[in-house]
Symmetry: C2
Subunit: 246 residues, 2 copies
């Protein structure tokens, strides 16, 4: 039974996130339906990351099995035909070994978060950035981010609904770039807790606007208490960027 | 009578361009109405460039006069209040000398054009880029663009409806950047003919995909015939970037 790995870009606006839900439309459901329309086979999709409502993806990865073998190029074209106008696009399809699992074979996940830092709201980037009016100091945000890199107990940055077995995670990198009014944060780790990236961004924003000192992030981390860290940054600024497999 | 200069960002999707029309909604009309809602005065807006249907702006400039004097910050906030959800945002307001004219005082105009060059259609950038499937060679596009820089008769790159007195224009700069699948062209000149940027991009694309040699752009320019140059690139990839005043 051939296994198909797909690389996906989506605009999360208007979707109830990746995961299939009873009463709301999800990315997973749309893609599963397009696979069914194309192949006449019912499938379950497994993804590298279950993005939340309103979160976007530049390079989400998922896999599914079909009884019949199709060419990779045919699958991409057929799915994009059925996904047309849905804000979901298959960038690439690959036929992979049956040992490949989009979620469990992933070695590293990369996210990007975009803040639009200016007084005026976004026109071109509506639903694609977090609009922060107060001027943010990127230098102190960078200093603060240093406390989060490495292996830590991230309880303070974990949503209460998080189902992970352990709050201990390893952040490999946080890079914060400034491009005119855009503050773009790149963050990578083997895996993340629920809301972890958004809680980190909300906390770095407290430092950027001067309400917190960079060292307060260290204190928040050590408190192992969600209430000790900053707010959860809005979903619309978050992009699931890519996944690295062995 | 105080004159107000406004800096504007807009998403041109769904608008019949800048200029007020009888049977379609324009950017000009929306902003004029928001000024009227705020000030109770009827005004006419003059802009640095009359963008076409579907063209976006990052830094359009316009001016208008009001009998009453308001603070610049108040004007920005009030207009953005009335423009909310319209995809139009006032970035800044300045009270200027009555000799200032958004169109006639402009010394240089800057545009940017974005091509998404990949097989899959855009999900995140729907209506914001020109999707070109055939692989484009940016190096030869850069070579070709060199023939267009400087003072030339741009009849071959001018729309038949163009109302400019002369087809002679001076292009100061064309810069083509490649960022993953995005080919972004920056182009500046004191002023442009109607459709000039889009006709240039459509022509450079012919070179990029290998159907034309770079020198064919020189031949097209010298022909002084619209039929000699390439197609008009779609409006949705074009952004009015900024205006330089003395």
């Amino acid at each position: 039974m051939p296994r198909y790995k797909i690389l996906i870009e989506y605009d999360g606006t208007g979707y109830a996130g990746w995961q299939r839900q009873a009463n709301a439309i999800s990315i997973q459901e749309c893609i599963e339906e397009s696979i069914e329309s194309f192949s006449q086979e019912k499938v379950t999709l497994f993804s590298a990351g279950r993005t939340d409502t309103g979160v976007h993806a530049v390079g989400q990865v998922a896999h599914f099995d079909l009884k019949k073998e199709h060419g990779a190029y045919t699958v991409t074209g057929a799915l994009n035909h059925f996904l047309k106008t849905k804000g979901i696009v298959i960038l690439e399809t690959e036929i992979v070994d049956e040992n490949f699992h989009a979620r469990f074979s992933a070695k590293k996940r990369f996210y990007k978060y975009i803040i639009l830092n200016r007084s005026a709201p976004p026109a071109l980037d509506l639903n694609k950035v977090w609009h922060v009016k107060e001027p943010l100091n990127v230098d102190v945000m960078r200093l603060a981010s240093g406390y989060l890199i490495g292996n830590h107990d991230f309880t303070s940055f974990r949503a209460s609904e998080c189902q992970a077995a352990s709050p201990v995670k390893t952040i490999d990198e946080i890079e914060i770039l400034l491009d005119e009014d855009y503050i773009v944060t790149y963050i990578s780790a083997p895996s993340f807790l629920h809301h972890m990236v958004r809680n980190i961004i909300g906390t770095l924003k407290m430092v950027g606007c001067g309400k917190w000192q960079p060292e307060d992030v260290k204190t928040a981390l050590e408190a192992k208490d969600r209430a000790a860290a900053g707010q959860t940054a809005p979903a619309c600024g978050l992009y699931f960027l890519k996944v690295q497999y062995e």
